[in-house]
């Protein structure tokens, strides 16, 4: 393959075009006659966008895609992110003109199909989570968290209570405390016990009349089910607090239990995890929130409702926290998730969680002898190993992750959760075959052996990627966050001199 390392700006040549617009069929307008000079951007000040032909454009982005690993390329056991197969039919349906070429402000009678889909999705997500009502507005998990916490705030305020504390376990994802903070709460951290579960005694010490809510994932971030969840819920509820369910790990419980049954009051789901919508290199996702009856008045507006045979938007909820996201949420993502749920049905979703849990337990057992496995009980959809044994031999988890790249795998999530030393968080998902997991386990075991016998090969990894390990310290100290022509010219001059 021809090596290609250019930026799109570096292949640009004045005069090339990659578009085709019809000639204007109306009278031309001179901006000078319309606007004061200082508000006009003339030719010399034009935004310096690249000028390329269509084929150059295609080759450029194809070359970039070839430097990227996605689920379709290979195994991607990134714990907590649920990198499962993203079905092709979802993409086709989201691109139907009746879904992709409609405007959010069209009269409701012209978009009844879209509203029906959203309404049905709300209904089905309510069943799946055991909640009484759903809002599809939030665009991502973090925004769902914030939305949920704003409802917690409104709920307590309405009761005339001022509660300022949100409790999060030490294994929680960083967005939990960050969302609590953005919603105006202080956070307190609850330590885990030796089994990796919420320490009930510690929780009791922290829960008081200032507690607004406890945020929890279940199974938790270590992939372990909080078996005392009913007791946890009771402790928080008895003190007048609410229970918030972070749905990041919902892939383990579909059709088995629901956050509602566990005692949670508010839930968010990450549709880009459990419900197969693509992660898109970082997004877009969607983070619907569900609530129990008591919290329905606080849901974001507008809400999508059914009025007789037609679907309508209703903003008449005076206690609502208001709007959290433009229009109807990330509709295109919601279409994909709905397509998936309709593909699987109740039985299929239940089999999804069975597969996810079977795979995680199987893979953990295959690796347990070779890596420290801090928690021994059953795991759910993911598990966390520790690289502490290898660290003693001078090889860190980061090195092993880089070595995995040479085998063609995306490494697991590393150094998370924060309460496991040299953590490796592995989530195989239900869509991977046994052969894939076996081959991955073999690679991990080989790396563990290399650490003992030939650590250099691990420490210097990766050996096969388009670039080697990158200097992240330099990137942060002397940030270059955009391309500039001047710099490029200077570099070329330097090269000529050299």
């Amino acid at each position: 393959m021809v090596e290609y390392n250019d930026l799109i700006f570096e292949i640009s040549r004045p005069g090339r075009v990659g578009y085709s617009l019809p000639k204007s069929d109306v009278e031309s307008v001179d901006l000078q006659e319309k606007l004061p000079k200082h508000l006009i951007r003339d030719e010399e000040e034009a935004a310096d966008l690249p000028e390329v032909s269509e084929l150059q454009l295609v080759r450029h982005y194809t070359a970039l895609s070839n430097k990227n690993h996605g689920i379709d390329n290979g195994f991607y056991p990134l714990g907590s992110c649920t990198m499962k197969y993203n079905p092709k039919i979802n993409e086709d349906i989201a691109r139907l003109p009746g879904f992709s070429r409609i405007h959010p402000y069209q009269q409701a009678e012209t978009t009844q199909g879209a509203f029906e889909l959203l309404y049905n999705l709300q209904e089905e997500l309510a069943v799946i989570t055991g909640m009484d009502a759903i809002s599809l507005q939030p665009s991502a998990g973090a925004q769902g968290e914030w939305t949920g916490l704003m409802m917690v705030r409104a709920y307590h305020e309405q009761k005339g209570e001022s509660r300022n504390k949100v409790l999060v376990p030490d294994s929680a994802h960083g967005t939990n405390p960050a969302s609590a903070s953005v919603a105006g709460f202080d956070t307190a951290t609850i330590p885990s016990d030796e089994n990796g579960l919420v320490d009930l005694e510690e929780l009791k010490k922290h829960v008081d009349s200032d507690t607004a809510a406890l945020m929890l994932t279940n199974p938790n971030t270590l992939g372990l089910f909080e078996t005392e969840i009913e007791e946890i819920a009771k402790v928080v509820h008895d003190a007048g607090g609410l229970l918030y369910y972070d749905g990041a790990n919902a892939n383990a419980i579909l059709g088995k239990t629901t956050p509602g049954a566990m005692g949670f009051d508010i839930v968010h789901l990450n549709l880009h995890k459990t419900f197969t919508t693509p992660h898109g290199g970082g997004g877009p996702g969607a983070g619907p929130v569900g609530v129990k009856e008591d919290l329905i008045p606080y849901l974001p507006v507008p809400r999508i409702e059914k009025d007789g045979e037609s679907y309508v938007l209703n903003s008449d909820y005076p206690l609502s926290i208001g709007r959290v996201k433009g229009y109807h949420g990330n509709f295109g993502i919601l279409v994909r998730a709905y397509t998936y749920i309709r593909t699987m049905g109740a039985e299929g979703l239940s089999e999804v969680s069975e597969g996810a849990v079977l795979h995680a337990n199987y893979l953990r057992k295959r690796l347990e002898e070779h890596f420290e496995s801090p928690y021994k009980q059953l795991c759910k959809h993911e598990f966390v190993l520790s690289g502490s044994r290898q660290k003693k031999l001078g090889v860190r988890t980061l090195d092993m992750a880089k070595r995995l790249l040479d085998f063609g795998y995306h490494p697991p999530t590393i150094y998370f959760p924060l309460n496991v030393e040299e953590g490796l968080m592995i989530e195989p998902t239900e869509t991977e075959s046994k052969e894939t997991m076996d081959a991955f386990a073999d690679a991990m075991i080989q790396i563990a052996k290399e650490v003992e016998e030939n650590p250099g090969i691990v420490l210097e990894a990766p050996h096969t990627t388009v670039v080697g390990r990158l200097d992240e310290v330099q990137a942060a100290r002397k940030p270059i966050v955009r391309y500039t022509k001047e710099k490029d010219a200077q570099k070329k001059k330097d090269t000529v001199k050299a």
């Binding site: 990227n68 402000y105 879209a114 960050a178 105006g184």
Partner: protein
Amino acid sequence: MTNTYRYLPDTKQDQKEMLDFLNVSSVEELFADIPSSIRVKGGLDIPEADPEPVLVKKLNKLADRNINVDQYPTFLGAGTYDHYIPSVVDHMISRSEFYTAYTPYQPEISQGELQGMFEFQTMVCELTGMDVANSSMYDGFTSLAEAASLAVASKKRSKVLVSRGVHPESRAILNTNAKGQGYSVEEVSLDTDITDLKQLKSQLDKDTAAVIIQYPNFFGSIEDLAEIKEYAKEQGALFIVSANPLALALLQSPGKLGADMVVGDMQPLGIPMAFGGPHCGYFAVNKKFMRKIPGRIVGETNDEQGNRGFVLTLQAREQHIRRDKATSNICSNQALNALASSICMSALGKQGIRKMAQQNFEKADYTAKVLQSKGFTVINKSAFFNEFVIELPRPAKEVNERLLDLGIIGGYDLGEAYGNDKQMLIAVTEQRSKEEIDKFVELLEAVVNG
């Protein structure tokens, strides 16, 4: 397990081998840690699964119940626009190496995505005239609320002033956000179609963290940013501009006119309307705020051999490091749509984007002129980009209903958001032909007189 689901690969034999290896007799045993008191009994009560061909038919039918803008020409804008999207855009973002990847945590196997985001950041900087842009936000509206939060935090002042020329949904989200962050939001009224500068001046004080203006504003009018900047500066307030990136092809960049932060949505450049989302927020700042900007940023660096490469950088701002002290809680963004937008901007290029923007100017101008010649009142006193407001003799809602019967999706009814149900915001992009415009005017005339 039944092996009837095409996304689930386990055969009975696979399952047996794994269960034997685990020394358990059934998958059910693996769920023994979930107390029976909280188990779902009898399965989830949702409709059964649909086989692929059946589902495709059903969902096509549902999609067909919507009227799309290829069937009926639309004059709706108000923040989401029907623009030309080169075919190449969807083809490129449909490469699954892009769309099935996650956040580029492992840069060695994510150089494609990282470079794509670096290029996106550069293009946003070029259009906005700012020093630094992140790799995207959820949408333009939430991006604006984040900018307000950042302004409040960095100025340690407790009030933001937002013009009523800013999108109503944007202001709604700003208000929700302010409740959590504990700052107050004051609206600045309009002088017909642009921000009332006298009002603005009287509301600005030493407790004002930021002034927020939309450019062009919700009524399509082009605000004089230079003048507003002067007022904000006098009181030491930051200047936040929410801008349509397509308009910036022809309008002086907010950066040059003194903006401290520029936010907005890339939807006009390469992103389908899709009933309002997913679109793609952008967030650009001057150098001063580089280490405080929310969201993911890609930076250039080198590997050990000196090869150029790209990484996520300045991560000390973010929630996974700073937790409750982070500048924002954002984690996932809209990377794939940012990529779509970069591809669209590259296809249009330096000249194409100006041509497209010029056509928007001209078509809106033409439509307004024809309407005026038929006796309609255009309320905009200032120059406008691709939208303007007209006064109707009867409620816009009724007019739109009649237009719909005649096969046209009319403009945005300003009744709910601005309390004037006889005003309509009309958007005319390059997608509307002269023929469609003339027909629209003709029908509008017939409807209001009929």
